[in-house]
Structure formats: structure tokens, C-alpha cells
């Protein structure tokens, strides 16, 4: 793993839009940049990132937080958004 890069894991069905790839290292300082970088590499994934996905950065889940910082060594998971009752 490149030390400047966050390690990103795609959870659930998102692998369908990456040709089966579930783990990838990405250089991104924010969630917005992360989505953009992933969208460049996997265009079919982008709409699913922009709507309906949450991002967990080092364990903390963020929903709709485009400018949330991502550290250079962060452990990032992209997972479905949660609502509730």
C-alpha cells in the first residue's frame, strides 16, 4: 500500500460496478475527491457513490459529507446509507 493513500473497501453490491474489485488504494484528501477518483476509474460506480452511499473513515460513518477530510493512511469503507424508523 502506498503510504500516502487511503485504503478503500467497497461493501455490499458495489463490487458489481468495479468488475469485482472490492479493495483499492486511493489518494484523496476529502470524500468528494475520493468519489471523483473512484468515478474516473469506475464510471459505473459514480452514481452509486453520489446517491445512497455512506463513507466510513477510520470507523466513523459519514452520510452526505463531501468535504469530510480523509487522512493519508485512513481506512475507508463505502457502504449503503442507513436511515431508521
Amino acid at each position: 500500500m502506498d503510504e500516502r493513500m487511503a485504503h478503500v473497501t467497497l461493501i455490499g453490491n458495489l463490487r458489481q460496478f468495479t468488475g469485482g474489485v472490492t479493495e483499492i488504494d486511493v489518494e484523496a484528501a476529502t470524500v468528494r475527491q475520493l468519489f471523483a477518483r473512484l468515478g474516473e476509474k469506475y464510471p459505473d460506480l459514480l452514481p452509486h457513490l453520489e446517491t445512497g452511499s455512506a463513507v466510513a473513515i477510520d470507523g466513523q460513518i459519514y452520510q452526505d459529507a463531501l468535504f469530510q477530510p480523509i487522512g493519508p493512511h485512513s481506512d475507508v469503507h463505502i457502504l449503503p446509507q442507513i436511515a431508521g424508523g
Binding site: 473497501t9 461493501i11 455490499g12 453490491n13 458489481q16 446517491t51 445512497g52 466510513a56 477510520d58 470507523g59 466513523q60 460513518i61 459519514y62 452520510q63 452526505d64 459529507a65 469530510q68 481506512d75 469503507h77 457502504l79 449503503p80 446509507q81 442507513i82 436511515a83 431508521g84 424508523g85
Partner: protein, 767 residues
């Protein structure tokens, strides 16, 4: 008995963690509080809905001409009065909404997809005239075959609800339509390899029936539309900004044209997060040019508003002899009702969340059936999957010969555990709740004849979201706090207490109200156990803004730099040795001269609240099974849950107790019963049996406090987790009492008696 263990640091707070009298209590017990059906407007009409008698039928035509001619009828609407919507999932707050489905759910278009589906609506001068008008509406139906059961709906050749529905999440993409809207999959590690290491494997299949949230107050609203296009709607809802958004979209109006006001709410539990009557009332009011009030009957609530899914679940868990779980699988099939969107995804994510596991695979299916579209219900999806998992874990403990709490402790998730759904947990209270259960007197008390004891744990995520709060310092030094999340479980009390704690002013100096959609910026709804967390976070921010401004005003008066003034103990004071001697100024004094020092003082917080943290629970349940009738009585129940921090412990305990009561109903009695004709046979509280006070023991609670470090007062959110463990806790207790593992809910007397008779015949029954 209600207890608290391991109090969070900061227990020396003045207000937070205390039990003041509920600010909403007096109006509720005196009947002064106004609920959805309580508001009247001059000239109001009564709106009524014509509903489909068929579970599945194509609508050939609707003739409303005779109804329109009836004296007293002022407006009639059908699906044609709403613009069709494209099929696209778009964000609505934190939910994904397909308005193509929403517009068809509020009023059928091509097909009626469930018994009770709205077909047309009228507004008339009285309920009697409205009902008469409904009878005059002629609908030509082509009745179609229907399907209710989730497993039946998945079979090839099952009646298709949507001819254009192709299962998403399957590769290669299917070429034929089906009732399976989506397949999802969550995988961690290698389950096949894990099962090879297992000494003991337990695999079981479970079914749960659809159950309703059972809120006492039916859906109700009153709408008025002016000739200038502006509209007002008063509504019982968990989120009036959501009502505004959905209605504006369905009617094609600008959002700002609609002012939505939330009434007091007589229960929601997730079921009041969607719209049913609201767009109809607005459309009728516009057409009639008079206010229109609509109130569902209880029967309509059951037949036409969203219950939660019925489901079929398969769970397989393997463990070593020492109790360490080495592999866990689940297959979840959830009914979505008439349109896609069951809570199978959160159900799949929750299933194994309480545990620290290396190998997990959960597959879920979202399946449409001819039932009302499901709505959220407390921890949507979680109770179903976790019922199955917690039942199998109990059986696994029995097979290994291990105490079920010990087995859970051996596998419990903790801070740093990689959750089965991906990310690592921060501080969580799973182990704390298990230890509290183990040390509780309940766990050690001997059981009586025909009694059994069960334990089960549960998990829910909790969320934050968009939130706005304003806090105004009034001219006499009192404060008015306006929040936008409807108060369902004590929000006004908890916000008042957090504001008072920040400002160090007495509670009676702060009045909290729930503002309408014209008074604040956007607020996502009260759901996801977010209101105390999110609006509390915003309240603290607004209070700090007020304090900062108060300091600024005093600094001006004292001719000091702002950093030479501090807010402490309810007053502004000079800070530091060089600030000089000035008498402290109370908020009242600052407020009194606010006009001369810069104008009104207020804090206004607009945030997207992040940092929500999950809440875990462990419940212990004792049941007594009547060997003659099969009736299961819950005789003792203890709910232990991590609250983060309980702002007002009585409300937290109320949430625990309410969730348990609903979970016991789900476990023992509640179910939608359908005839072969696809019609619900028990659409009323006499036949749909929710637990009443005489059915339940006093539900004991233990509040565990493992503070959420991302909230200024450590709040986690507590409203949903309490409904997760009860079904398995009850089932495990029944298994302990009878020696029979029940896998089909509800465990109603005929079902239990039949199983007992069969077990007695085989000589395997314990009673």
C-alpha cells in the same frame, strides 16, 4: 426496577442525567395537546378515500361523474390528478426515494397492488356525504392473481406485480422480470473455510409475519390551499420537512409554497416517515378551494399504511467447542409490499453486528408482494435477522454446553472490532451489557414450574443528519428554543436540559417548541434514533453561540477585548487577572440591554450531524408456558442497553420498555392474517393482538453508559435497539421452558400447543 450502571464521566452535571417533570406531560394528560385530528379550520371539508377491494387488479377505468354530482361533494381526485414521475432513486434527506412508486402508492394508477390501495378520494361537506360519494365511484377492475407470501412470490411463475421489474444485483442481468427487486450480499472473510474449522454447526430456517407499528394515533392531517398557491398542512408525522418535500414533488409545487406543521404525535415508530393522506388532502383542498381534513380509520391504518416485512430467514453458524464462532451465514428474504424497498439491507448489515467474526456471508432479497408497501419500523430490518441469529446462537450454546451469555461474551464486538458490515467500531457497549446481564439478580433467580429463561442481544446503527435549531434570548432573559424534529420520545425535555446545562440557567427559563417548515432550515425527520443526538448537538452549538454573543456584548460594555470575558455559571464575567473588576452580568441583564448593544441575541445552528454511534443491548426474559393452552406469558423482563449518556433517564427507560412491549407482541401475538382471497382478516385491534398492560410484567431496565465521544454529552440514540432482542429473548425462553425451538413467529397459543402435543407424543417435551 430501573437502574443505571457505570455512569458516564460528568455525572456531576446540574441537569443532564436528572429526571425533571416532563414538559409535554401536562398538556397530554389534560387533553390540551393537539394531535393530528385535533385541528379544525373554518369551512373545512371531510376527505375520504376509496380503496381497492382486490389485492391485485388492473384498473380499466374509473368513473367519478356520479360522485361529483352528489350534493355536498366539492372535489374528487384520482391518480390522474398527480403527475406521473420517472423511475429514479433520488435522495430525500437520508432516504432514497423512487417517486414513480410513491406517486403510485398514494393513489393507484395502472393497477391496484394490494387490498386497501387508494383508488380515488373525495372531499365533501360531511363524512356521510363523502362515504356516499365513494359508493358512487365506478371502478372497472380486471382482477389478477395475487401473491402474499415472500417465498411464493420468489418462485418462477408467481403472479408478477411489476412487469418491468428485473432483479438488480444479479450477474448476468436477468432477462425475465420477477418479483425480486434486488439481491444484496455482504461478505467478510471465507465462510466455507470457516465452517471447515467448526466443531458444531447449527442451521435453522425461520419465518416472521408482517406486523404493524401499531401507533395509537391514526394518520391524520388538515390542508388548506390559498388561491395564490400557498398551502398549509397540519399533520401527525415524524418529519414535516419530509412531508413538505414529498408533497411538493408529487404536486409539482415549489417547496416554499407549502408550510407544514407537525402536531403532537401519538406514536410513529417509523410508520410516519412517509406520506399517504397528505398529498391527497392538498390536492383536494386545491380543487375544492376549502380546507380538507382527512383521518384514517384503524382499519385503513392496517390495510393501507406500511407495516414491516414478513420474512423467511436461513441462518447457519459454526463454532469451536470453546464457543468461538468461526463462520456465520444468513439468507434473508424480506417482503417489500407492493413496491421495492424492504429493509433487507439494514437487516443484512445488522445480522451479525454484535459479534467479532472473521467469516460472515449474508445474502438478502428484496421481494414485492400484494401487501401495503412496508414502512420503517424501529430498527428496520434488524429485529427479523437478529431474531434468527440470536436464536441460533442460543441453540449453539446449548449444543456446546456453554452459558449463553458466556458464549456471547466470547464473541462480543468491542472497540476496534471490524464490524461484519465493514468498518471498525469505536467505543461500544456490547460487553458492558452482557456483563450487566450476567451480574443482574434476574439472571440468578430460580425459575418456577413451566418457566424458562432466555437471553438475546441486539444492535442498531443510529444516524445523524441535517438539523436546524434556533435559540433566542428573550428580552427578559428567558430563552425560546425552536427545533424541527417532532418530539416523539421526550425531545423537548432533553433539548431543554442540554441547553440549560450549557447556559447554566434553570429549566423553566427555556421553552422548547417544534417549529414549522417556515421557521427553520431543513430538518430530516425524527427517526433512526437521531433526534436527541442531532438536535441535541445543534442545541449545544446554538447555546454556545448565545453565550459567545453575550460575552461580546459585555466586552463592549466593559471596554475589554472579547477574550477577556467569559461565560461561567450563568453569567458573563471578566476573565483573567488583567480584566479589571466588573460585576458579573446575568443573561437577564445582558438581554435587557440587547437592543442598545447590537440587537437581539440568538443562536442558530444548521448542521449535518455526524458522529452517530451504535447502541447495543442485552435482554433477559422469563416466560411461563401454560401446558394446557399453549399460552406464553412473559413473567419477568430486564432490558439492558448502552445509551451513551441518558439525558433524561425516565424517557430512555420509556424507550427501552416500549421497544420491549412491541417486541413481545411481535414474538407472541401480532401478525397480519390473510385469507386465500389475499384480504387481511384482522384489521382491527380486537383481532390484531398488541400487548396491553395486563399482558406484560413491569419491564425492568438497566441503563449502561458508554459515552459517544462524538457527541458533546455522549448521546448515542436509544429508540430503536430495544425492539431488536425481544423476539429471540422470548423464543429462547420458550425453548428453555419447553425444550422446543420455535422458528415461526408469532408463538401464538395454537402454534405452541400443537408443538407441545407433538413433542409430548415423541416424549421430548419438558412440560
Amino acid at each position: 426496577m430501573q437502574e443505571k450502571v457505570n455512569d458516564a464521566p460528568g455525572s456531576d452535571y446540574t441537569y443532564v442525567g436528572t429526571r425533571p417533570i416532563r414538559p409535554d406531560g401536562v398538556d397530554k394528560v389534560t387533553g390540551r395537546a393537539k394531535f393530528g385530528a385535533d385541528l379544525a379550520m373554518a369551512g373545512q371539508l371531510v376527505g375520504k378515500v376509496l380503496r381497492s377491494p382486490h389485492p391485485h387488479a388492473r384498473i380499466r377505468s374509473i368513473d367519478t361523474s356520479a360522485a361529483e354530482k352528489l350534493a355536498g361533494v366539492k372535489a374528487v381526485i384520482t391518480g390522474k390528478d398527480f403527475m406521473d414521475q420517472p423511475s429514479e432513486f433520488i435522495p430525500a434527506g437520508e432516504m432514497m426515494i423512487n417517486y414513480r412508486d410513491v406517486v403510485r402508492n398514494v393513489m393507484a394508477r395502472e393497477k391496484a397492488l394490494y387490498e386497501g390501495h387508494a383508488i380515488a378520494a373525495v372531499a365533501a361537506t360531511s363524512a356521510a356525504v363523502a362515504k356516499q360519494a365513494l359508493k358512487l365511484i365506478k371502478v372497472d377492475y380486471e382482477v389478477l392473481p395475487h401473491v402474499i407470501d415472500v417465498v411464493e412470490a420468489m418462485k418462477p411463475g408467481a403472479p408478477l406485480l411489476h412487469e418491468d421489474m428485473y432483479t438488480a444485483g444479479v450477474e448476468p442481468a436477468p432477462k425475465t422480470p420477477s418479483n425480486v427487486a434486488k439481491r444484496i450480499e455482504f461478505v467478510l472473510g471465507d465462510v466455507a473455510a470457516g465452517f471447515k474449522q467448526a466443531d458444531v454447526i447449527v442451521e435453522r430456517e425461520f419465518t416472521t409475519k408482517p406486523v404493524h407499528q401499531g401507533y395509537i394515533e391514526p394518520h391524520a392531517c388538515i390542508a388548506s390551499v390559498s388561491e395564490d398557491g400557498t398551502a398549509d398542512i397540519w399533520v401527525t408525522t415524524q418529519g414535516h420537512w419530509i412531508v413538505r418535500a414529498h408533497c411538493a414533488r408529487l404536486l409539482g409545487w415549489d417547496v416554499n409554497k407549502i408550510r407544514a406543521t407537525s402536531s403532537e404525535i401519538g406514536g410513529g415508530f417509523g410508520g410516519k416517515t412517509v406520506v399517504y393522506l397528505e398529498p391527497l388532502a392538498l390536492a383536494l383542498a386545491k380543487k375544492a378551494r376549502r380546507p380538507v381534513k382527512m383521518v384514517m380509520t384503524r382499519e385503513e391504518v392496517f390495510r393501507a399504511s406500511g407495516p414491516t416485512s414478513g420474512a423467511h430467514v436461513r441462518v447457519k453458524i459454526g463454532a469451536k467447542k470453546d464457543g468461538r464462532i468461526v463462520a456465520a451465514e444468513a439468507e434473508l428474504k424480506y417482503q417489500a409490499g407492493a413496491f421495492a424497498g424492504s429493509p433487507v439491507q439494514p437487516g443484512a448489515m445488522c445480522a451479525y453486528a454484535p459479534y467479532d467474526l472473521e467469516n460472515v456471508k449474508v445474502v438478502g432479497y428484496d421481494v414485492v408482494t400484494n401487501r401495503p408497501k412496508v414502512a420503517a419500523y424501529r430498527a428496520p430490518g434488524g429485529p427479523i435477522s437478529e431474531f434468527a441469529v440470536e436464536s441460533v446462537i442460543d441453540e449453539l450454546a446449548g449444543r456446546i454446553g456453554m452459558d449463553p451469555i458466556e458464549l456471547r461474551l466470547k464473541n462480543a464486538a468491542k472497540e476496534g472490532t471490524k464490524a461484519a458490515y465493514g468498518p471498525k467500531f469505536g467505543p461500544i457497549g456490547m460487553i458492558d451489557t452482557l456483563k450487566a446481564a450476567k451480574s443482574h439478580a434476574h439472571w440468578r433467580t430460580p425459575l418456577g414450574k413451566n418457566q424458562g429463561r432466555g437471553v438475546a442481544s441486539g444492535f442498531w446503527f443510529n444516524i445523524g443528519g441535517e438539523t436546524s435549531v434556533s435559540l433566542s434570548l428573550n428580552e427578559d432573559g428567558t430563552l425560546s428554543l425552536t427545533a424541527g424534529t417532532p418530539d416523539i420520545g421526550g425531545l423537548r425535555a432533553s433539548l431543554c436540559m442540554m441547553a440549560a446545562e450549557e447556559l447554566k440557567v434553570p429549566l423553566d427559563k427555556i421553552r422548547v417548541q417544534i417549529g414549522d417548515t417556515g421557521q427553520l432550515g431543513y430538518n430530516f425527520l425524527t427517526g433512526g434514533s437521531r433526534a436527541t443526538f442531532s438536535s441535541g448537538m445543534a442545541t449545544v452549538e446554538a447555546a454556545r453561540e448565545v453565550m459567545k454573543e453575550a460575552c461580546k456584548r459585555a466586552a463592549k460594555l466593559w471596554e475589554l477585548p472579547e477574550d477577556a470575558v467569559e461565560y461561567k455559571d450563568g453569567a458573563v464575567r471578566p476573565a483573567g487577572p488583567n480584566a479589571g473588576k466588573h460585576n458579573p452580568m446575568t443573561l437577564k441583564e445582558i438581554a435587557g440591554i440587547a437592543g442598545k448593544t447590537g440587537g437581539p441575541i440568538a443562536g442558530y445552528s444548521r448542521i449535518n450531524a455526524h458522529g452517530a454511534a451504535p447502541s447495543l443491548a442485552t435482554h433477559v426474559c422469563d416466560v411461563e408456558v401454560d401446558p394446557e393452552t399453549g399460552k406464553v406469558s412473559v413473567v419477568r423482563y430486564t432490558a439492558i442497553q448502552d445509551a451513551g449518556r441518558a439525558i433524561h433517564p425516565s424517557y430512555v427507560e420509556g424507550q427501552y420498555q416500549g421497544g420491549v412491549a412491541q417486541g413481545i407482541g411481535w414474538a407472541l401475538n401480532e401478525e397480519y392474517i390473510y385469507g386465500a382471497d389475499g384480504k387481511m382478516q384482522n384489521a382491527g385491534f380486537l383481532d390484531y393482538r398488541v400487548p396491553v398492560a395486563s399482558d406484560l410484567p413491569m419491564i425492568d431496565t438497566v441503563i449502561v453508559e458508554v459515552p459517544n465521544p462524538r457527541h458533546p454529552y455522549g448521546v448515542r440514540g436509544v429508540g430503536e435497539t430495544p425492539i431488536v432482542p425481544p423476539m429471540a429473548a422470548v423464543a429462547n425462553a420458550v425453548a428453555n421452558a419447553t425444550g422446543i425451538r420455535f422458528t415461526d413467529l408469532p408463538m401464538s397459543p395454537p402454534k405452541v400447543l400443537k408443538a407441545l402435543d407433538e413433542a409430548r407424543a415423541k416424549g421430548t417435551a419438558k412440560i
